[in-house]
Symmetry: C2
Subunit: 374 residues, 2 copies
């Protein structure tokens, strides 16, 4: 391995600013652009040395779709997510990665493959290793799932984001967050579909608007830091029929519904930037296209939404493709009460047990939580 000062080399080669994930310094909004067909990072003449012996990263859960924000808007939720521990491992073939352990909630460890090529964390890690041209170091990855699979909280995206950050950080963090989104997107496209509305907010924090995919063009929307925003997340014990959730979407819609939904989409993002949580909730609740078609597939959802609004939530919709229901409020205590009413409604109207949690908006995104220097 060439012992050149690779960090300087990387900075020259990368067109975007360094990630600096642990101390984000974005303004009110930040625009990220990169060309998918030509990665922003050109082939490296020298691969980086690892800076740490091991690192541990965290990536938050995400709520995608957000009513009229279907398929282009997502946000990160603090306090829940996935952890990845990564170490340079002389027992692993140089340039390769091995998944040593998968643990965590529910039956994740049984359902997820330890083959890195078939694991969302593994795919994202390999993608970042390719960007960094890693050939001399083998890596060992341990995945700790804090998110249940198929809950509508961006479980696969959180694993991918945590892995991408871990690989980048163990080599000193030379890649930009846009590069990491590309790696995460590669993982998502193989596991859950070609969409960045979970993995981008999991990596970047806050709300992220995916403006286009070719080139990948994202706008990070900052909810004003002086204002509070809480998500009441209520997950029933029910496996959402993912294929049906997709199949129930129409191929064509009326111009009237388009006009309504795009108006509410505009109101939604304006409310985010202006920190208007009531306006945000109202827009979130107003989807006439996706939610009305998916709601009947989640037993009790209609009653749960009604209960949330009656209990004072500013808005409520399906998180991702469900079955988690998400409600919006700016007060944590009120959020707990709303959660209780929603849990009751899932039982009463859907005959489903459910659990509620109240979490803050995550404004940071995936980050390094600990590291051991060489």
């Amino acid at each position: 391995m060439a012992a050149i000062c690779y960090q300087s080399s990387f900075k020259l080669l990368s067109t975007s600013p360094s990630t600096n994930l642990s101390k984000p310094n974005f303004s009110l909004s930040t625009t990220f652009r990169c060309n998918l067909s030509a990665p922003s990072l050109k082939p490296l003449i020298a691969e980086p040395d690892p800076v740490f012996t091991s690192v541990k990263s965290f990536a938050p859960a995400t709520v995608a779709n957000l009513g009229p924000g279907f398929d282009f808007l997502g946000c990160a939720v603090d306090g829940i997510g996935d952890y990845v521990t990564l170490r340079a491992d002389p027992d692993v073939h140089p340039g390769e990665i091995s998944i040593s352990d998968i643990s965590g909630v529910g039956s994740c460890s049984k359902k997820l493959s330890k083959n890195p090529l078939w694991n969302c964390a593994g795919i994202a890690a390999i993608s970042v290793m390719k960007m960094l041209n890693i050939r001399s170091v083998g890596l060992s990855l341990s995945l700790e799932k804090g998110l249940p699979l198929g809950s509508g909280l961006g479980s696969s995206a959180a694993s991918a984001a945590a892995a991408a950050v871990a690989v980048n950080e163990i080599f000193g963090g030379p890649l930009s967050v846009s590069d990491l989104v590309l790696a995460g997107l590669e993982s998502e496209s193989k596991v859950s579909g070609y969409h960045a509305d979970n993995v981008a907010p999991s990596l970047m924090g806050g709300f992220v608007l995916i403006r286009s995919y070719d080139p990948l063009d994202m706008i990070q929307l900052k909810f004003p830091p002086e204002k509070e925003l809480f998500f009441v997340l209520v997950t029933p014990e029910f496996e959402a029929p993912t294929k049906k959730m997709r199949a129930v979407l129409p191929s064509e819609i009326t111009m009237a519904d388009h006009g309504w939904n795009s108006t509410q989409a505009a109101a939604l993002v304006v409310s985010i930037v202006l920190g208007d949580s009531r306006g945000l909730g109202k827009a979130l609740s107003s989807d006439k296209i996706v939610e009305p078609r998916r709601a009947p597939l989640i037993p009790g959802f209609v009653g749960v939404k009604k209960a949330a609004i009656e209990a004072g939530a500013y808005g409520c919709t399906i998180s991702g493709a469900g079955p988690t229901a998400v409600a919006i409020i700016d007060d944590e205590e009120r959020g707990r009460e709303i959660g209780e009413r929603m849990v009751e409604a899932f039982m009463k109207d859907g005959n489903l047990k459910a659990s509620a949690m109240v979490q803050r908006l995550d404004r940071v995104g995936a980050r390094l939580v600990s590291s051991i220097s060489r």
Copy 2:
């Protein structure tokens, strides 16, 4: 007429803040709500006295639709618009209004009716008089058109807005801007269709998002005051076939086009609030639903848009229902060059003479320009 202090009475009766059109004091965005079926102003026990013998008001031109902002977004353009001169006239039957004169550009004076019931300024004026319960004073209105009819620059809305402001101001300005929008909307619905995306920005200034109609719910979007925004408006000598412009719109669209356009609508309004004129232009240019269907009805438009972009415009689309083409830029001198290229393209590709102007964003809206005290 009761000689009570009517201004205080009005303030008690009105649920929204006083208009204060000449000195707007809105924050980054302001939300206006009123219930169309139940006017916000309750019946008055006493009608107001006129404060002025005569007033002159101005209301700016507007650009509606704005690409993916179709039917819900419009903005005001400084420097061009309509004037209304209004005076208390003892020769007019008390409680009624007479249109004494219509003058201005093109053939306006011949095409517009002097019957207040069939004139957009007259209808708006009568609506405001009803809100104020005017029974003891007759009014005489003179309309000076600065905007050609059917150009796509909100000509009818500017007349309605100027008239609504004039009637309100001659009686001391007791009504809120939301009330005036309701009056303007009544006029628009009789003249050009039930939409507020011209009359609301003409009255309020800046960009206005019409979130819903029942109740009327508007969000005023402030383009940051420290940043410049110019509109290059190029109007060909061509009458846009209004009926065809409406008829060419589809009743159904694909889910893919909906997703794209609502994403761009969201990017458009975020760009406005953040003062990102490049992002605004890009979103403005990206409509896949309305512009592609209407463009073929305006000879040369496709070439005009291409010429605008090549000359450095950040974006270009059809203003309202056309035929005016609108391009976006943040530099006035560059705007003039863009306008020249667009005029050339209208001739080359559409065989149409055209005229260009470069105007700033109007941030104030309709206002009193002069008054004569009693």
